[in-house]
Amino acid sequence: MSEWVIETRNLTKEFRRAQFKIPALKNADLHVQKGEFVALMGPSGSGKSTLLHLIAAMDRPTGGEVFVMGQDVGKLSEGAVARWRNAHIGFVFQSFNLIPVLTALENVELPLKLTKLGKSKRIEHAKKALDVVGLSDRLHHAPRQLSGGQEQRVAIARAIVTDPDVILADEPTGNLDSGSAQDVLTLLGRLNKEFGKTIVMVTHDPHAARTASRIRYLDKGELLPEGQVPEDWALTIPAKE
């Protein structure tokens, strides 16, 4: 069993466009320890989202390996990877991706439908998760009845309801106003500090990245060495103390 919660080795992803191969990620070696909050930053097309998707096994690498909690996720079958993702990964999307026809409570309960928990236990866990994100009073609201910030908090509740080992967030503040974005970042910070959740967050926002305990930069598909910032990256973002 590896000491790392997340470990990628020579992780490579190439996309094919007609006869051309377009490298999206080249030989990335990323190591994340339990309880770390890592921000992945970089310009558009740098490969940060690709790296996140490969960690979540939402896509298959062209080369290299991804280990999460010691499991080589690339070797899991189609069915096994779905079960594995449900048990170990909580994913937060930029555009929330709540199911519009389900209430906040039903959205949060959804991943638990794949567990062996009974209805009452599922509801109990979903309510607890919504309580953690401060939305106990919005249980029966449909997504369209919530603000963007509230929707993202419901999405975070959905990501944590199965008590996953890792929370992966893809630009979680990208669609929010600054106030709501700050609430979401505070919440992610709390989940990391109070609940010890390991978080990997992709962001463009230097302010958002400051919430993380460590920042890794990507440029043109390469994961830059620890502390190195892309040459043409206008901003240098100090990690939060």
Partner: protein, 388 residues
């Protein structure tokens, strides 16, 4: 079922217009099929109700119907003397020689007229039809041109109502009574005195058929064997039940055409359901991607969309059942190829017929939903998320 059914039900209600339009298409298809099934069922019930379990119908050898059968009074006497025949309170054998002819009656729906069976019989023959109750007027008298009509005829033909006179044979026949024979074929017939009809038709020695009531089931088979095998008689004997069952074939053309139309419509409805479900899959691509990220398998996605299609078609099926319900017990009539006359009966919508309709709708939903559900399940997660 991992993805909750609420998800599918609410999606159906969210896109109300599409759901209702698709369901209506399926409903109309189901309604066509159920109408045909209700018609055939009504005819079958009517014909089944027409036969007494102990009745044996005796006709000339080789004739396929009462109308083209000829029996003589001598044959009648021989038949009466056979063993195994039930007797009435007076000790007379329950055997009725009858004369069948047809008259043309006009109605508002059929100004050109329709063949209606006229049955000449005696009091014994009338008494053998216990289910025919006199509900209006009185019974015809012997030696008079008087008619008692079945209720179905009285209701459908204004010229066959109480007090009206119908011209056929050698004069006018007055309607003096109406009998209600429930759903049996007797409701579609007119009854007159045998001797008067035979005299008018000049057929005193060439009557049609002989109806015999067997004493019991065991004697019935022996009686039929005895009558059919008596070379001197040259007659065929069959259970009245079998005779009427053969007449259900009269509905075959309607059944074939109706089923053909329903199947063609079903193909169209399946495509409508398929179109609706493909649109749903396209619109909900991001949801499909999200569900996969949450851990739902491809099979789970396929099942969910397939069930949604089934729910949509089931709604259509239920609507179809509601659409045909007003037809239940509605009086109608069909020309019989056996009697060359009209059999009136009622549409009959049974729970079994409704189940067939619902099953039919589910088949439409299944054929229409399978490919869209498959396409939803095949979507790559990232492609699905980007499509949203």
């Amino acid at each position: 079922m991992k993805i909750p059914l609420t998800y599918n039900l609410r999606n159906l209600t969210v896109r109300k217009t599409t759901t209702v339009m698709t369901a209506l298409g399926i409903a109309l298809t189901v309604a066509v099929l159920l109408s045909v099934a209700a018609l055939v069922q009504g005819l079958r019930t009517s014909l089944q109700a027409s036969a007494h379990p102990l009745h044996v119908l005796v006709t000339r050898k080789g004739s396929t119907a009462e109308l083209n059968s000829i029996t003589t009074p001598e044959q009648f006497q021989t038949v009466k003397a056979k063993p195994g025949i039930a007797k009435n309170a007076q000790g007379e054998p329950r055997v009725s020689q009858e004369l069948i002819t047809v008259v043309v009656l006009e109605s508002p729906e059929n100004p050109a007229g329709i063949n209606i069976t006229v049955r000449g019989l005696t009091a014994v023959g009338m008494a053998m039809r216990e289910d025919a109750r006199l509900v209006e007027g009185r019974m015809f008298r012997t030696g008079q041109r008087e008619i008692v009509v079945g209720r179905g005829i009285a209701e459908r033909y204004p010229m066959a109502r109480m007090g009206r006179k119908i011209e056929f044979g050698r004069g006018y026949w007055e309607v003096v009574g109406v009998v209600d024979a429930g759903r049996s074929a007797a409701s579609s017939e007119m009854f007159v005195d045998l001797n008067q009809l035979a005299a008018d038709q000049g057929r005193q020695s060439a009557l049609s058929s002989i109806l015999v009531r067997a004493a019991d089931q065991v004697s019935m088979q022996a009686l039929m064997n005895e009558l059919s095998s008596d070379r001197g008689l040259n007659l065929d004997a069959q259970a009245e039940k079998a005779y009427y069952e053969a007449q259900t074939s009269s509905a075959a053309p309607i059944q074939i055409v109706g089923t053909f139309v329903a199947v063609i419509m079903a193909i169209g409805s399946s495509f409508a359901a398929m179109n609706t479900m493909y649109a749903a899959v396209a619109r909900r691509a991001a949801e499909i991607g999200t569900l996969r990220v949450l851990g739902f398998s491809r099979l789970g996605i396929l099942t969910s969309f397939f069930i949604e299609s089934l729910l949509l078609s089931l709604l259509g099926g239920l609507l179809g059942c509601l659409l045909v319900l007003p037809l239940n017990n509605m009086q109608t009539a069909i020309g019989s190829f056996v009697t060359f006359s009209e059999i009136s009966f009622q549409f009959e919508i049974t729970p079994q017929i409704m189940m067939v309709g619902l099953l039919f709708s589910l088949i439409m939903g299944a054929t229409g939903g399978l490919f869209p559900a498959g396409s939803a399940a095949r979507k790559q997660i990232l492609v699905a998320l980007r499509q949203g």
